[in-house]
Amino acid sequence: MFLGVVKVICSKALSEDIFEVRVERPKELAHIQPGQFFMLTANAYLLKRPISVSDFTSTQIVFTIREVGEGTKSLIDLPEIQIMGPLGHGFEVTKAHNVLLIGGGIGVAPLLPIAKKCKENQSKIYSTLGFRGEPVMEEVFDSISDFLGIVSETSNKYENGYVTSLADLVLRLNEIEMIYACGPKKMMAEVAKLSEKYEVPAQLLLEEKMACGIGACLGCTCKTKEGAFGFKHSKVCKDGPMFWASEVIFDV
């Protein structure tokens, strides 16, 4: 696992509160799987911040970061960042003919690597992305998707509504074989319902507050099914962040 300081190549704003931070990819870094994340050291804070890989090449890694507090704020204009990773189990790549991406807010960012992978595998990509205000990463998803639907809760340039309603429509009209989703907890719970309703497996990228990021502290657990009625606490950082919709128990 890589733990060290990397140079920031550039950092630019995609919107008012979302920033793209492009760093040098160290040579010794292991293979990156779509959906994996890194722990980034936020200077003013004790704990590192988990941030997904939102794009990567053989020489670069891109983090797309929404500024929600002091920690994320401190990450967006550093000359160099300490990173640890890649971490966790990311998305499983399948050779599905039709895949559906469902992204909410900053959750669209970690979908890009899996979208690219699916594209490579010649899957047909249906992207449904939802935002509270103006969208981000619209262009890149447009170029990669066979279908792109964007909804916004407030912007009048886009259809207003929730992304899961749009996804529902796509699922009803197309033979989707695999869903990849990332977004707020409530959206994820809805996606799980869609997955059940249409009997299409869904891979969800979950989020939890993390301390170690590697499975040692047991701080980041989510509830997953065990046996017929039981549950257990799985580590989002290590057992996830990708979980199958069918495994997760949502307490919402």
Binding site: M1, L3, T41, Y45, L46, L47, K48, M84, E208, K209, M210, A211, C212, G213, I214, G215, A216, C217, L218, G219, C220, T221, K223, F231, K232, H233, K238, D251
Partner: protein, 306 residues
Amino acid sequence: MSNLKKTMEVDLNGLTLKNPIITASGTYGFGREYAELIDLNELGGIAVKGLTKEERKGNEGRRLVETPMGLINSVGLQNPGVKSFIENEIPFLRQFDLKIIANINGNTIEEYCEMARILDQEDVDSIELNISCPNVKNGGLAFGTDSEMVARVVTCVRAATGKHLIVKLSPNVTDIKPIALAAEKSGADCLSLVNTFSGMAIDIHNRKPFLKRGIGGVSGPAIKPMALKMTYDAVKSVNIPVIGMGGISTYEDAIEFILAGAHAVAIGTANFYNPEAPLTIKKGIESYMNQYNIQDINELIGNLDT
């Protein structure tokens, strides 16, 4: 002269560590994860995740809240149970040159003793009796804040095992001295402290505590001054060695605890934000010893001019 081989070995009253660096229970799992980041052979010992007799699922809901230079946790002793530890984790840890400290937790005195009896037969180097966990309903903290209860549980566990026995104390007490003394008199070979401080954080937008149980345990640099004071107090009141911990994140912190009289130090929360902390702390202690021309770390223990 300063190139002579320095001695970092410490004797915790029957448990010899090749250096005084331990990783604190609950912050290092069973070593597996950190083994990918650092060489575990560098450690003096590892206190494994708190074990219970049966598997425990741990607490529900959010488990972590970051606070100014601190962390509140409410993990609630999630662990695979002592049997699974014996089967799956001891063999893994035995690959490394370090001492294995089994941290045990019970809901009742009987449960503590049963675990001690089970582990007595197993290949662990020491048993750490955790009577100070604030994150479980029964047992835990309740045992650790009253000298009589401490005496009872330690006496019973002492009878159940001939292994090296560490008693881990809670900082949530008016006076650590009678408690430390009770543990010593009841047969502890060594004390460790501090466990986490009881603390709370509230989500003002939802008007709810962040943690389901309301309270959690506070660790990290924020607690260091209090932890150091308690370690100092404990050291002064007993004749057995003490493992100091609480917010240690630099070698300077570790030296403070050692000068206060700790024979060894445990690194907890610091592992999360600096996985190399045990190594840099060890190196720092070495260079401090070089700087002051100290050959044997034992010269530093309790070497405080007050």
